[in-house]
Amino acid sequence: MPKLIKDGVITPNEWTLLEKPEGDAASQEVPAGKVIVPLTVWQAQKETLQQRNDIGVWLDSGELASELGDDAKSLPLVAVHFPLFMDGRGFSTARLLRERFGFTGELRAIGYFLRDQLCYLRRCGVNAFEFTHNEISLEDALESLNDFTEYYQASVDQPLPLFRRRH
């Protein structure tokens, strides 16, 4: 079974990622088991899919957190896709899912991102990292998770900015 980093440890990946359908999202078959479906499939088949407790949803980089909105609360997993490491939209998406839409489940980064982005992603609320594009040593990548131990700004991992803790 392929592996990923979750909550700071290397663990087996139990979820299957469903690609975006070429045709109609409503008629896309969603297999049994733990599946991460594209946002369009979730939206088209929400009534059926929300009966299940093994469905996650992934957002592409152009899909805003608000398009999933309060649905996030009921999901065990939401993934944010990075088509390329230079595309930083997912950092905002992750923060919004955590801070505005109250998502508490597994927030997973998928796609082509760098181990050097792990610390910032973690700060934005991502707690699972699945490198679907690049061959990477997860053991090495773990080292980057805590590149910084102190921060100026508020974020998901530390809601108090440094100026509220410094005095």
Binding site: Q117, Y120, F163
Partner: protein, 554 residues
Amino acid sequence: MYIYDEYDHNILRERIAQFRAQTGRFLDGDLKPEEFLPLRLQNGLYVQRLAPMLRINVPYGMINSTQLRRLAHIARHYDKGYCHVTTRQNIQFNWPDLTEVPDILAELAEVQMHGTQSSGNCIRNTTSDPFAGVAEDEQVDPRPYCEIIRQWSSFHPEFAFLPRKFKIAVTGSASDRAAVHVHDIGLEVLKNEAGETGFRVYVGGGLGRTPVIGSLIREFLPEEHLLSYLEAILRIYNQSGRRDNKYKARIKILVKAVTAEVFAAQVEQEWNHLKDGYTRLTREEIERARSFFTSPDYQTLDGKAAQADVDDQALQNVGFAKWLRRNVRGHRIPGYAAVTLSLKPTGVAPGDITDTQLERIADLADEFSFGEARTTHEQNIVLADVRKSDLFALWQKADTFGFATANIGTLTDIICCPGGDFCSLANAKSIPIAEAIQRQFDDLDYVYDLGDLNLNISGCMNACGHHHVGHIGILGVDKKGEEFYQVQLGGSSSNDTSLGDVLGPSFSAADMPVVIQKLIDVFISNRTDEELFIDTYRRIGAAPFKERVYAKAH
């Protein structure tokens, strides 16, 4: 000046350790060049035409003598004995060895300097008024807010991979010396009628390929909301800015596309979610930031007597008198003055400075200005707190060291990017053009008679030399492998910000001094009294200039 505490030091040490490891992985072949690219850029490291280039931040232009001496050491030991003051108040080294960059950054960190986010698609060094804290027309000192922004924007986890670079400028004076209308975000800090401090917020200004004057999106933002409001703007931009075309990725394109009104409404909506969160500034934090920018230990002086003495010295020494007129300006404290050291003597690339000169400036700062100096976006150095009674002694020393060229604000105080001699983006050289123009106008008295006149040169349309906002702007263009120069007239980066109009077809490098001379001739024959070039141009328009420059030879 802001002084680091253990938090600041720790964060910077962790950054250097991170970059040292990244550089090692790149050199070992474990990190692809395209993956290393954004990482090195966000530590200030470019790979340029001839060698790497390392850009070091000078936060809002403030630098002390210890830092100046460390820069001199870096220039001497790791580079070729000089560096360059940029149009964003930063310092660039042109010849560092990639493998030594982590060591350079570690040496700089010891004196509280870094290259963090000095390039790349992230929030860059915040710039400000080089006369902040001493200007007579200042309403509020912008530097505490610049420092608050510096800390908030440094290593911001959400905004390190924006669609494009992002530049913020802050001014606190009636007269804008920070060009806030041509920044991604421009902030004017001021007091409202109730005496409360806040910001006028402009968004979507910028130069580059598509020059745009920023739009006012908020008339008064109370100071405690500074960071939450910036966060709202950056979040909208990060989510909605274009990423399909790097030339359309700046926030100015987004603001234009949706209109400033709609953008302002989007920001307001996002901000409503954020404004009462923990990012709202506390009174203690604003006071803490202010506590670093209190007045130095000024003496109580008789301002009138000091001025009378200076006037006497000026009567006896013409050179000193000229320098006073161009390079010295008023100060809010009686008996003090602010001095600009010119980095624009003819024959030196504008803004270039040697290791020894850096040390001399450090010495001058220690002797005459409480150990502090400022870099300016016009690529000069300011000593902001000089006693008027010391001006003559300072002038003599500055003259010996080569900083006393009395040309500040004149035609020969040229803003100029490194251009094709150094920069891999450039289409044309810019430094030799600056030098040729300086040589054409080598009679300082003639130049003084022209009054304030900004001439800005960029070697390509990325506009690092700010040519769009020069009274005279020069843009290097490439035509079938040959370098040509387009001329623009009527730009300004002051309160009356305007973008220059293209005069017409471009000229060869050899023609440029004569072309500028013809433009000046038209100005002289049309100006009234003491009228400035920009005002004459605005009054008479481009036609007389075009006629003269493009007239067929008889």
